[in-house]
């Protein structure tokens, strides 16, 4: 827990929270236009600014991003802050004079008429629609385009959004009503989908079993839809959170990437056009420890290694279950082999390869779900071995269990396990 002083009042809050969280917990009202509790902080409207003091230095900080820290002193409504807020609201109101939420704020701050030439933008670029579509839905149908004063929200090429689920979460979070589900667009979109794909938005988000929409996606007129929305009390996207499925998964402290394909022997494979990118998985990375060198091979077969990794005196040959050729080695890993283990899924990829037969290659690989089972099995096996080596049984899930594996095993044990895990 963290203790801080907000407007001279003591507030206690959990770790890893923001000053805004703490203010809200303390019941202090702070205006904001781009913050949503289900979305990551963005810090664009700057209305939630406060004055924070640390080590005798006072400064302006936006509370939605500033981490709450022990002993922090916060003033939320100083004259300086209020003056800035007022001018920011005036600027926004001049941009979007029609927005109800801004009119209300302007009233609160006694702004009668903006001193700037009025525009008629509906959107204030808070980015909540973009964030909800990305972070919650994992769809990325809408995004920003342009920059500076011409920055705006756009569906790429102003096209029919091919991947939009029509879930309406963007309209739900929009503070100004700039995004609307247009009847016309909706129908266009309905036509665009093949008839077989006319699934109800709730089943598209995985909240209910398969259901075909009988209503041409006029969700407000759909009884089922409206009843479900009432039941959840929020937008169903926040319940379903389909984006969560795309995040890296943790299996016994080993990280696995959902989109990648895997071999049974701890190599991940990512199809790229005609080729594949490959590297070692996190389990292999922990098993070998610091990678000192990688001996590349020009070609490989199920019985001929794809590369040899070395760590100290130990070496490890790894295999993929199909035949192919090495196209190119990752230039980073070529010079800094340790990256293969430190950052196995991103910068530490090892080669791009081409398979003799792409279909066969894909058939020989498995999805992340299956790979997780293998990792689970191997972690269990490894744990039994390392515990034995320590002469004690550690409680399940103890931290550092898979850390420092190489040093916990004798060369002989390591060799034995190598055969089990990597062939």
């Amino acid at each position: 827990m963290i203790n801080l002083l907000i407007n001279n009042q003591k507030v206690q809050i959990e770790d890893n929270k923001t000053v805004l969280d703490a203010c809200q917990k303390a019941g202090i009202k702070i205006p904001t236009l781009c913050h949503h509790k289900e979305l990551t902080g963005y810090g664009s409207c700057r209305l939630c600014q406060v004055e924070v003091a640390q080590k005798n230095k006072s400064r302006i900080a936006v509370s939605c991003l500033f981490p709450a820290s022990e002993g922090l002193q916060v003033q939320t409504h100083t004259p300086r802050v209020e003056k800035n807020r007022k001018l920011l609201i005036e600027l926004l109101l001049a941009r979007s004079p029609e927005a109800k939420i801004l009119q209300k704020m302007a009233d609160d701050y006694k702004i009668i008429k903006p001193r700037f030439r009025l525009k008629s933008e509906k959107c204030i670029l808070c980015g909540m629609c973009v964030r909800v579509c990305n972070e919650v839905l994992g769809i990325n149908a809408i995004g920003f385009a342009g920059r500076g004063t011409s920055k705006h929200i756009e569906i790429p090429f102003k096209d029919v959004p091919e991947n939009c689920l029509g879930c309406g979460a963007c309209t739900y979070v929009c503070p100004t009503g700039a995004i609307q589900m247009e009847t016309e667009a909706r129908q266009r979109w309905a036509q665009y989908l093949e008839s077989g794909a006319r699934k109800c938005r709730f089943s598209r988000m995985g909240l209910i079993p398969h259901k075909i929409c009988p209503n041409a996606f006029q969700c407000q007129r759909c009884e089922v839809d409206q009843r479900l929305e009432d039941t959840y009390g929020t937008h169903p996207a926040f319940i379903a959170r389909p984006a969560a499925e795309q995040l890296p998964m943790q299996v016994d402290q080993v990280e696995m990437i959902p989109d990648y394909l895997y071999t049974h022997s701890h190599i991940w494979v990512k199809p790229l056009g005609k080729r594949f990118r490959i590297g070692i998985d996190d389990f292999a990375a922990r098993f070998i420890g610091k990678v000192d060198s990688i001996t590349p091979q020009d070609s490989f077969r199920p019985d001929r290694p794809v590369w040899e990794l070395a760590s100290g005196k130990r070496t490890l040959n790894m295999y993929v279950p199909f035949a192919g050729r090495t196209m190119e080695m990752n230039p980073l890993v070529k010079f800094v082999p340790s990256l293969a283990g430190k950052d196995p899924y991103q910068q530490g990829w090892i080669y791009t390869i081409s398979a003799e037969n792409n279909t066969e290659a894909l058939n020989a690989l498995m999805s992340a779900d299956k790979a997780i089972q293998v990792v689970h099995k191997h972690s269990d096996r490894l744990r039994t071995q390392t515990d034995k080596a320590l002469g004690a049984t550690l409680p399940d899930g103890a931290a550092g269990m898979l850390g420092d594996v190489p040093n916990r095993l004798t060369d002989e044990e390591w060799q034995t396990l190598t055969k089990e895990f990597f062939r």
Partner: protein, 639 residues
């Protein structure tokens, strides 16, 4: 080029290269920087090669094409060594004479010598030119001594020695303590102490760290980084490898503006050469240290000069800054500890390690022995441009006064005009007036004056420059370059520009100045990144030092400097006009009338004030008169 496996092999190679470098060898040094290329140094180089061949001198006389010497104004520049004879504005047709007279017979060709604009004297030797001899060219001076495409040249003047020593000694803490003691501060503009940054990055948790070089020199009017990268890329690379070893990074990035194709090409070449020699790559000089270097070209966005935006851009994203409540040294590129420095900062590193902190701290202002913020040490490269006689890149010790730079090195104002102000720090900086000309240039004093060091642009403006127009220019620049993420910068700068543009167009009204000041304060307080927060500086400094010009625009409907088109008019001086009709023919709006050999007149209604007639007139008869052409003419305020 051989692969060096350890420190001794490096030393042997270096000793050999130093020995083979004969200081008395006859060499024609030709500048091949972007400036001199633009003025035609490429055909000059071809002519030299051809002539040397035809004289059969190709083995005796070397041609060295170097990076920028700094004196771009007078390009193409040539120095004949070992005497150091400087020829400026050299053309291919001058080459036979130069080879015959100067190279073979050591005779000076008078007409190619530089003429000092102050004394009107001809100057023979490069070392005697005031533009050069008042500088302290510690970083930049090597440009003239090496061919940037040859790693051997760099090593033969002591290059990579600091790296070799650092790796052999294997004591990163000692390096950090040296950089800290040297008082080196970030040359990108912010002036953050480099050693402190390195120390935090070294201490930061994470098994992958990065070093990054910011070469996205976006400040308009600054091009020092470009010339450093084009003239001496290895010095920057060496600094980065040392930095990487020190903070514990194995991967480095350099982010270069796409507008600098030559810099990109030469830096790639430098990396490849260093790889071949084993100075980049696996197990450098047998130390066990691995380092790999990546090049990224910028996409054209000024905001990417901001560190968090630059890192987003390196990740292949749009260059939007993020709040830096957690520092980049802890969570930067890919959320990992990242040590980012400017080109010039990196280039200072080998210098400090080679020459020592005592030597370095003797140059500059203040005292950094206790507090790294206590002063400004070393030199700074500025691009001295605008309405000054000698334009180009100058490297001066910190603490030199503006007067010395503008009048000593720059040779004063062009065309005998009056100095008005000097703009430093780019769009984040400000305009410094004549009364502050004796200000010693360092980080803290420029900031106190309302400007900042920035990446080293120094734009000199004279009495014919309108300060409101300058402020509007910068705000327009910032408006176009704002990423648009946060409200104060996107909306606030847009509105500040709107007000300034109105003033320049004659629509200024009472209260505009006060509203500008109010906006400036909120934009400074509330913006997400430093680019937004410093964006009011051009307005605030011009308001502070040149408020009367604003008032003349608003109240008197007059642009005193004769720039803002709505608030000036053109007139032909009947006394000096010879009636040659040149202006009449060139005028695109047919606003000039008159008979041959009789003074012409301009119809102010038709005149669009494009300036073509002024350009064309040989008798300097066309005058710009501040104020509207008809004092009675009142503008309808549409706003």
């Amino acid at each position: 080029m051989k692969h060096l496996n350890d420190f001794n092999e490096f030393k042997q190679w270096q000793d050999g290269l130093i020995k083979s470098r004969d200081p008395n060898a006859r060499t024609i040094v030709l500048c091949g920087g972007t400036g001199c290329k633009a003025t035609g140094s490429k055909p000059v180089a071809e002519a030299i090669r051809e002539q040397l061949n035809s004289y059969g001198l190709a083995d005796e006389v070397a041609l060295r094409i170097t990076g920028c010497h700094g004196f771009c104004e007078k390009g193409p520049l040539m120095v004949v060594q070992p005497e150091g004879v400087l020829y400026t504005g050299v053309k291919p047709e001058d080459i036979p004479e130069i080879i015959k007279e100067t190279v073979l017979n050591k005779k000076i060709i008078e007409r190619l010598l530089y003429i000092d604009p102050v004394t009107n004297n001809k100057i023979t030797y490069e070392r005697d030119v005031p533009f050069y001899n008042k500088q302290a060219r510690m970083i930049f001076g090597d440009n003239g001594r090496i061919d940037p495409v040859k790693i051997e040249d760099y090593i033969s003047i002591g290059g990579y020695q600091a790296l070799a020593k650092t790796l052999a000694e294997n004591n990163p803490d000692a390096v950090i303590s040296m950089i800290k003691k040297s008082g080196l501060r970030g040359r990108g503009g912010g002036g953050f102490p480099t050693g402190v940054k390195w120390e935090s990055c070294r201490k930061a948790h994470g098994n992958i760290k990065y070093v990054i070089c910011n070469a996205d020199e976006g400040d308009p009017g600054a091009y020092a980084n470009r010339s450093l990268l084009e003239g001496n890329p290895h010095s920057v690379l060496e600094g980065m490898i040392i930095g990487a070893f020190t903070v514990g990074a194995n991967v480095g990035y350099i982010y270069i503006r796409d507008e600098y194709p030559l810099a990109v090409e030469l830096f790639i070449n430098a990396i490849r050469q260093a790889e071949q020699c084993g100075l980049v790559g696996r197990n450098i000089l047998g130390s066990g240290f691995d380092f790999v270097m990546n090049i990224n070209r910028g996409g054209g966005a000024f905001v990417c000069g901001e560190s968090s935006a630059l890192m987003a851009s390196l990740e292949g994203k749009i260059g939007e800054p993020r709040a830096k409540y957690i520092h980049m040294v802890e969570r930067g590129l890919y959320e990992r500890p990242s040590c980012l420095n400017n080109v010039e900062t990196w280039a200072n590193v080998p210098l400090i390690l080679n020459k020592g902190t005592d030597w370095f701290t003797k140059i500059g202002t203040g005292d950094v022995s206790q507090n790294p913020w206590g002063g400004s040490k070393g030199t700074k490269i500025f691009s001295l441009v605008g309405k000054v006689n000698n334009t180009g890149l100058v490297e001066v010790p910190m603490g030199m006064t503006l007067r010395e730079i503008v009048f000593g090195i720059g040779g004063g104002i062009r065309g005998g005009k009056k100095f008005k102000a000097i703009q430093t720090g780019g769009p984040s900086g400000g305009c410094i007036p004549e009364k502050l000309l004796d200000l010693p240039v360092d980080y803290d004093r420029l900031t106190q004056a309302g400007s900042m060091m920035g990446s080293g642009g120094m734009i000199v403006v004279d009495e014919n420059t309108c300060m409101v127009d300058i402020a509007a220019y910068f705000l327009n620049f910032l408006k176009e370059e704002s990423c648009g993420k946060c409200v104060p910068c996107r909306e606030g700068i847009g509105r500040m520009h709107e007000i300034l543009a109105n003033i320049c167009e004659g629509y200024g009204k009472d209260g505009d100045i006060e509203l500008l000041e109010e906006l400036a304060e909120t934009v400074r307080d509330s913006s997400l990144c430093q680019l937004g927060a410093t964006s009011p500086n051009p307005v605030l400094t011009t308001l502070k030092y040149f408020r009367d010009e604003y008032e003349a625009h608003i109240k008197n409907q007059k642009c005193p400097a004769g720039v803002c088109k709505a608030l000036i008019h053109y007139k032909i001086d009947a006394q000096s006009c010879k009636g040659c009709s040149a202006c009449l023919k060139s005028c695109p709006s047919e606003a000039i009338a008159g008979e041959k050999k009789k003074p012409h007149v301009i119809d102010p209604e038709k005149c669009i004030r494009c300036g073509v007639c002024i350009d064309t007139c040989k008798f300097d008869s066309i005058r710009i008169i501040p104020g509207r052409y008809n004092a009675a003419q009142k503008l309808k305020i549409t706003n």
